[in-house]
Amino acid sequence: MSQAATADLSSFPSAAPAAGRMSSWQNWGMLLVLPYLAVFFVFVLYPVGYGLWLGNDLQSYRALFADDIFWRSVVNTIIFLGVGVNLKLAIALLLSGFFAVPRWWIRVLGLLFILPWAVPSIPTILSFRFMLNPEWGVINQVYYNLTFLDGPNWLNNPVLGLTMSIVVHIWKSLPFWTLILLAGRLAISKEMYEAAAIDGASSLQKFRFITWPAMRQLYLTCTILSMFFTLGDFNSVYLLTGGGPADLTHVLATLGIRYIRLDQVDLAMASIICALPLMAPLMVFMMRRLSK
């Protein structure tokens, strides 16, 4: 009897005697989600819908596809995502193992390591930009002092410029992903490693048979989430190269601004809309995973 009563309580929200209160709870619930729904509809859904409507002129797509810079940006974006995200997460996975080692000085290093993520992009990316200045930047100064040769013209070369944008992107967002993967790593039971150690497993085997299986799902989630964030990374390219030289380092995130500057709003919208179908499969996958 007492057992039945407890069972009733634990499924309380659906219990019959409280129906009156339940409806009052539901009313409160509705009221409390209203502010968010308002924010979502007014500042996310309406802008997106309006943007789609602005970009519904087929003429602007024709103009967009005729623009070489657009295709260059698509290629750049794919390189940026493919290299940037995978390299970043692979390093983050390795570093999460390093930061999981219990040492006081690793904890201190961890505090410094987080700085690139915590401080604003503008000063730090511009600091990179000045380091890479071909005439008076510190990198070419040091290079000259060592070799008596002029260093490369870093940001005036589209390949180097894009590479450096990826480097800046990784510098900025690596701490965040390392932190997430570190949390995942620390959640693995220590007993598994102890048991493996008793069985004489090497550290590579421990990673292969304990760490990786436990982290694989999280790693995949991080990869896809990071793709979305990276796709929206405006600063790493815009503040470092400004899309130059000759607009050859633009990515889709900065291309819209370029068109706005040229007063071609319809092209800007079209360039954004073109990226959306690429993202749909990733989107469905993520929704399934995150809303569990």
Binding site: F12, W25, W28, S127, L252, I260
Partner: protein, 278 residues
């Protein structure tokens, strides 16, 4: 001996990580303490370090920095507003979804997550056009609401995950005692959720303080813009006073770093806890 090798291997990772992290930051600081013409000659420390740049910036003695303090104030007001509004909106929604089990809660979570599938830089232009329709363009509300819209989904997600972890028995006991929904919120939810709320509020605040693209699009008058936009404006000329830019940038970067360290305990635990569940 083996122990020595372990430590040596750790150091072999630690040194590159340290250099990688600190060199751009150190370079930023070096610029700020170097006199104008000697800006930097590949030296590890300037011959005659000076605080002159800080004086010039703090006294607004340059064309680009005429509104330095005003813009700093704008950054602060906007960041605080975004922090508080995000916290209010997200806490209310998370309470309703996690504890009151409002109908359609799952759908709302999905809608919230949908926001992140439009990358921030892509949402910026439609947001810009929509703000013009609302008549908010070039007002600070435009930036505040834009940042709230971007910060709330993650905030709700973190708060809902944390809310789900509170023992259901607490609510049950309160219900037996005849507590209403507001009382449940006030006496059970709020006190227990305080650490997560600090984390989420700090997250939104830092996000708004650090934002460049939206500020640059949505605000145009010098007197309204944030420090980020003011710093970006230096790039409009090829011979801007870079050492002043770096100095102002350093000052701009200090508050978020300090805030991060002050609330680090909450941030690390709460903002990443959701990830471990999966």
């Amino acid at each position: 001996m083996r122990k020595f090798f372990t430590e040596a291997r750790l150091l072999l990772v630690a040194i590159p990580v340290f250099l990688w992290t600190m060199i751009p930051l150190y370079h930023l600081m070096l610029f700020a303490i170097s006199p104008r013409d000697t800006a930097f000659k590949g030296k590890l420390w300037p011959d005659d370090p000076t605080f002159r740049n800080f004086e010039l910036v703090l006294q607004q003695k340059h064309y680009y920095l005429n509104n330095f303090w005003h813009q700093m104030w704008n950054s602060l007001v906007i960041a605080l507003a975004v922090g508080f509004i995000t916290l209010f909106v997200a806490t209310a929604a998370a309470f309703a979804i996690s504890r009151l089990r409002v109908r359609g809660g799952r759908l709302i979570m999905n809608l919230a997550l949908l926001t992140y599938f439009v990358p921030a830089a892509f949402l910026a232009l439609p947001m810009y056009k929509a703000m013009a329709v609302y008549g908010l363009l070039n007002t600070q509300w435009a930036l505040i609401f834009a940042m709230v819209a971007i910060a709330t989904p993650y905030a709700i997600w973190v708060l809902k995950q944390a809310g789900d972890k509170l023992p259901i028995e607490l609510d049950e006991a309160a219900i037996i005692d005849g507590a209403t929904a507001p009382q449940l919120f006030r006496f059970i939810f709020l006190p227990l959720m305080a650490p997560s709320m600090v984390a989420v509020g700090t997250y939104a605040l830092l996000l708004a303080w650090n934002e460049y693209l939206y500020a640059f699009l949505l605000l145009s008058r010098d007197i309204d813009t944030t420090l980020a936009v003011a710093l970006g404006a230096f790039l409009s000329a090829d011979d801007s006073p870079w050492e002043l830019l770096m100095t102002a940038g350093l000052i701009y970067a200090l508050p978020p770093a300090a805030i991060y360290y002050a609330f680090r305990r909450y941030m690390a635990a709460d903002l990443t806890s959701g990830s471990v569940k999966s």
